[in-house]
Amino acid sequence: MKKGLIAATLAAAVLLAGSASAQIKIGFHAPQSGPAAADGKSSTIGAEIARDWINEKGGVLGQKIELVIYDDQNKPDQSVPIANKLIGQDKVVAAISGSYSGPTRAAAAVFQQARIPYISAYGVHPDITKEGNWAFRGVQLGQPQGKGAAKFIADKFGKVKVAMLTMNNDFGQSIAEGFKEEAQKLGLTLVKEYTFGLGERQFGPIVASVKNDNPDVIYAIGYYFVGGPLVAQVRAGGLKQPIVAAQAFDSMKLIEIAKDAAEGIYIVGGMDRGRKDPADFQPYLAEFKKRAGYDAEAVSANCYSAVMLMADAIKRAGSTDPAKIRDALAATKDFAMLTGPLGYFNSVGELYSPLEVTQVKGGQFVGVTVIDDQAILAPPK
């Protein structure tokens, strides 16, 4: 009897050990070379931190998570073979894009056809989720982000005149569309919309023209590396109006570049760095800094949360069957992401999440308010 018990325990131990060493493979692609490599590096580190922390706590379903990571060079013609390779050779059960819209949209079609659940961690192109019901987005679409900004401006400053400075890319364009739509409803006046390229660093002409328009508020959509020089030149040009900016301004680099000129900027969709919840937020900021050597921004946090969300879905599915993972993902309710709570996914895989508004104060991003308005932020179908 005793012998039997020992044998059974041993057998169970062996079985457990066996299953714990088996890996759940999740595909991950991000740009790791060329001009887009900066965000690709951050997103990969974010995803790796999530993987390591999950595995330190014993993995999911008794198995370790393995990320199969490939460089997509920010090109659709790279992400399509990568998606096929992840499916056919690596046999992943789920996949995450830590990349921009182009490669993500192209890969989404491949994952859809192979019926593999897929999360776009920060790609904002509206069509990424439109291919079918296997693609989800771990970040608000541009449209609700823009609408949220319009609401913030209207609430904070009233029916004011706004000059809009938009970056030329899918991120800029989709946010701008949402903003313009909502601004009109809320009675804001758009005096003029200016556009500039990602490579633009000299904003003298735009600043001169904005000065001429004399708006009450400046709304700027761009990445931090465009935003830094932009706000500095706006201030140097003698413009004292409040600046409200979009999510991608959220990087400590912005403050490093713009220095004092960054003081007072509002960021709609930013991250309050002093926030205590969720519980893994502060440890994440510290761990990221340790691994990367620079401060974490939203892009890396999005990728971290996407991996965490996928692992959570696998746990809730109780299975590594892609169909069950997909169903579990679709049923997600109130999941704590680093960038804010994910309320739910709508029928096309777009999330609802409140937007945090931060302000630069004393060289830090400090929380100002949270926009949690279903009417405005509800994801479009």
Partner: protein
């Protein structure tokens, strides 16, 4: 054939058409172009636009070719007016103007490009074979031109325009022909790309893409069809076999470009078949 292999074949096929078509302009006819991606983009945008309107695949591909070729001939006209180095910068400029225009056009999706493109109606493997078929046709066509009378004339124009003119070659016609053929084929590659990626964004057709195509041509050996063929396949597969070294990929790319041209301006083909000094 696995879907992975099929997608690799598709990418290789598209790159082959791009490189071989640039080789006709730059390799055969000696007209430097730093804006080939613009014609790739013209074909892609034309095909995608028509595909969204419901046009069938053969029509969209043909329209893409026609559009790229027509604009290509117009650009070719500048090659008649400006001298060599001007042409390099002018074609580069065409690339920037194309991109700068397209990204501002609401009816072409602006920055969001064109997506939601209907499928080709073929499964991934058959479509890959179709692309491969086109690539082989372009390869055969290149080989045919090279040893045809037209090829010899291109050679003469590339070597010494004035000498060619004195022996009665209508240099202008040949230059325009090279531009027309080369850019139309780039347009074909664009059309094929549309059904492969099912999304096109302006930045896919940027200056870096033009340089990538040029790299395949010069590393293979400007003017050498088989050299360009081999280099294109090798360069396209390089990231597949060395995914681990992703961080150094572009660095290696640039170094190869520099070193090959520095030590063997004839490219790989020049290494294989060194002309007696």
């Amino acid at each position: 054939m696995s879907a992975y292999i099929a997608s690799l074949i598709s990418v290789i096929g598209i790159n082959l058409i791009l490189a071989l078509s640039l080789n006709i302009i730059t390799g055969f006819c000696g007209q430097v172009s730093l804006g080939h991606a613009a014609f790739y983009g013209l074909g892609a945008y034309t095909a995608a636009y028509l595909a969204k309107l419901g046009a069938p695949l053969p029509l969209t591909l043909l329209a893409g070719m026609a559009m790229a070729g027509a604009i290509g001939i117009v650009v070719g006209l500048t090659s008649l007016r400006v001298r060599h180095d001007f042409l390099a910068v002018t074609t580069m400029g065409i690339g920037f103007v194309f991109l700068g225009f397209v990204r501002k056009q609401k009816w072409l999706g602006g920055e969001l490009g064109i997506s939601g493109i209907p499928g080709s109606g073929l499964d991934a493997v058959t479509y890959a074979l179709l692309i491969a078929g086109f690539a082989m046709a372009v390869l055969g066509f290149s080989l045919w031109i090279k040893q045809s009378w037209m090829g010899f004339t291109f050679d003469a124009v590339a070597d010494d325009e004035d000498a060619a003119r004195t022996v009665g070659v209508n240099v202008s016609t040949y230059k325009l022909t090279a531009f027309g053929i080369g850019t139309a084929l780039a347009g074909l590659a664009g059309g094929l790309y549309v059904y492969f990626a099912r999304i096109i964004l302006p930045d896919t057709f940027d200056f870096v893409q033009s340089i990538a195509i040029l790299t395949m041509v010069v590393i293979g050996g400007t003017g050498s069809v088989w050299g360009v063929f081999a280099a294109t396949i090798a360069l396209t597969l390089l990231p597949e076999v060395s995914r681990a070294a992703a961080d150094y990929r572009l660095l290696i790319f640039g170094a190869m470009l520099m070193l090959v041209m520095r030590f063997s301006p004839g490219g790989l083909a020049g290494l294989v078949k060194r002309k007696p000094a």
